[in-house]
Symmetry: C2
Subunit: 141 residues, 2 copies
DNA sequence: CTACGTGCAAACCATTTGCGACACC
DNA sequence: GGTGTCGCAAATGGTTTGCACGTAG
């Protein structure tokens, strides 16, 4: 699951100091189910380091994003949804409670743009979001 | 482009009063290039109705969303990105400047989940987001 | 005339920033 | 020992809310 040695190595590779706070934040991120937002992370981290500040959590999340240790679920502005799964994959989103589930790349067919993208746009990849209702929200309706 | 009569009809159908503010907001939304956030809309509306308040714009955007006159680009929390194109379609997102372009459904292949979604999840549809760099951001790099 | 819509101002929440103190390397 | 990191607290930015007044139906 969480491998300190590997985390150390990755930090060193990125030129980042290996602080206790960072280890805990990363560990919490890895162990978090779903695709937590920074606030949730902050809450969980605070259980282990009560004195930690929100600023530190936000700063380190940004640092991890820059270092490629973390991914943002979408690129749109707003509340971040995070995941340590850096491998390309897709998402299944509940339109009711906005829960997010992972869908492996090999579970869906390859997609290709039939036409050329607009003048000069360079396409690097894509993500698919499937929408629907999770079991809980289905019952509630 | 903007058809007052149709807007009237849609408002009546949804049981909404036809106010001047609403007409201007909707018109601005329709004429807006890209996928504007509420703030941008607010700015543009304010040029025509300087006395309008941000609250009114936000309230009406919510109203339009409920009435199905408007779509949110993503379901994730945070800053809204809006579009009046209610037809299903996909997006091309610039990872540099976060600009969003539309991609018509018939420009990409149909996608199917190869495996069953998690226990009891009911899938209604999907959206594809292509990522890349727009011409402007390509130059800048 | 009455319910719905508007403007205003304050509140809210997530996130960012600046800075002095502290810890990793 | 010096740069990078932390904690704190204040600032910011987007969005929401409550309420008194105004207007569409």
């Amino acid at each position: 699951m969480f491998d300190v040695t590997e985390f150390q190595a990755r930090c060193r590779a990125a030129g980042l100091a290996l602080t206790h706070q960072r280890q805990v934040i990363y560990q919490v991120l890895m162990q978090a189910r779903g695709h937590p937002c920074p606030e949730v992370i902050y809450e969980k981290v605070r259980k282990r380091i009560p004195s930690i500040s929100a600023g530190t959590v936000y700063k380190n999340i940004k640092t991890f994003l820059n270092a490629g240790l973390l991914c943002e679920v979408t690129l749109h502005h707003g509340t971040m949804r995070l995941e340590t799964n850096v491998q390309p994959h897709h998402h299944l989103v509940c339109t009711g409670c906005r829960a997010i589930f992972d869908v492996d790349s090999n579970e869906v067919d390859e997609v290709q743009l039939r036409r050329k993208p607009p003048k000069g746009f360079l396409v690097n990849g894509y993500k698919i979001e499937f929408y629907g209702l999770c079991p809980g929200c289905r019952k509630r309706q």
